[in-house]
Subunit: 152 residues, 2 copies
DNA sequence: CCTGAAATGTAGCTTAGGCTACATTCTACA
DNA sequence: TGTAGAATGTAGCCTAAGCTACATTTCAGG
């Protein structure tokens, strides 16, 4: 074989494998991120409803660290997606679908935090990192976490 | 006591704690996501440079599962942020900062995958989920993972 | 050496998520 | 009972990341 031959940007065909696998992995990680925000909102609204009996845009905004206008806009999206209902000036409530999603998210959050703690992550970091990690934990991985925690 | 009294959306003060902690947690998870894309690009470019001696927009786009125009736009951002250099029609290369980032990302990816495998996550799910999870793993958590893997 | 096809680049559109500024609605209380 | 001030809602702007459509450049083969 001759030299390495690496300076022909425009030769027609790529010498590399197509790797649809890798592309779909990235794609999956990307689209998981899209649902993450909705999951956060739904979980928070559920918490507020439980703790305080109501969920108001201003509280939601403060908890999430965004401007109230941002929260209101996202609440509109929750409504469009059938996860929440809200009438002007009357607070936000969850639909059945919203409640179900909230329950799943909450359960998953607990498992992720517990797993992080189980492998030795300090509490603060576990809570903090779980917030981001949980949205990327598939059913398969979640099941494995649960098994591990049950001392599999 | 009388009724639950939960229908006054506009009373001035919230009865709930401020929870700046939770807000900052969400905020952190959110901004981590912003760097995630750049990390993916940098790692992929590094891989392509190593495996093939060059990294071309079309290959990058195919691997990431996006249109080539999207890849080119993001490469522009990498350049603006000082992570990559590229001259028109000449392929993409990493700066020192880009190489350093790529190395860190690659190492972190390995640790995350290994940890998932260690707790019993099947290989395919581990690889797939790690792609999303890794961007939310803090230094603290990463260190804990490494310790756990070294049989702490 | 020419030319067609592939790669690259550019332009313009869309959506999501964020913001500030302003307008409106409600309620606690003076 | 009126009203100040908080909460809510609306409008308009920005950036990132995606897309399609079109223009340009390069190179391999005839």
């Amino acid at each position: 074989m001759s030299g390495v031959m690496v300076e022909h940007p425009l030769r027609p065909a790529s010498p590399l494998p197509e790797e649809p696998t890798q592309a779909s992995r990235f794609g999956k990680a990307r689209s998981a991120q899209s649902g993450a925000l909705l999951e956060d909102y739904v979980e928070l609204i559920s918490d507020l409803l439980t703790d305080a009996g109501e969920a108001r845009p201003t509280d939601i905004a403060r908890r999430l660290g965004v401007a109230h206008a941002t929260a209101i806009k996202t609440i509109g999206r929750l409504k469009r997606e059938g996860l929440a209902v809200a009438k002007p000036y009357r607070g936000v409530f969850l639909t059945e679908a919203g409640e179900r999603l909230a329950a799943r998210v909450r359960a998953r959050h607990r498992v992720v935090v517990d797993l992080l703690l189980a492998v030795g992550v300090p509490f603060e970091a576990a809570e903090s990192d779980a917030e981001g990690i949980e949205h990327h934990v598939s059913e398969t991985t979640l099941a494995a976490f649960a098994r591990f925690l049950a001392q599999g």
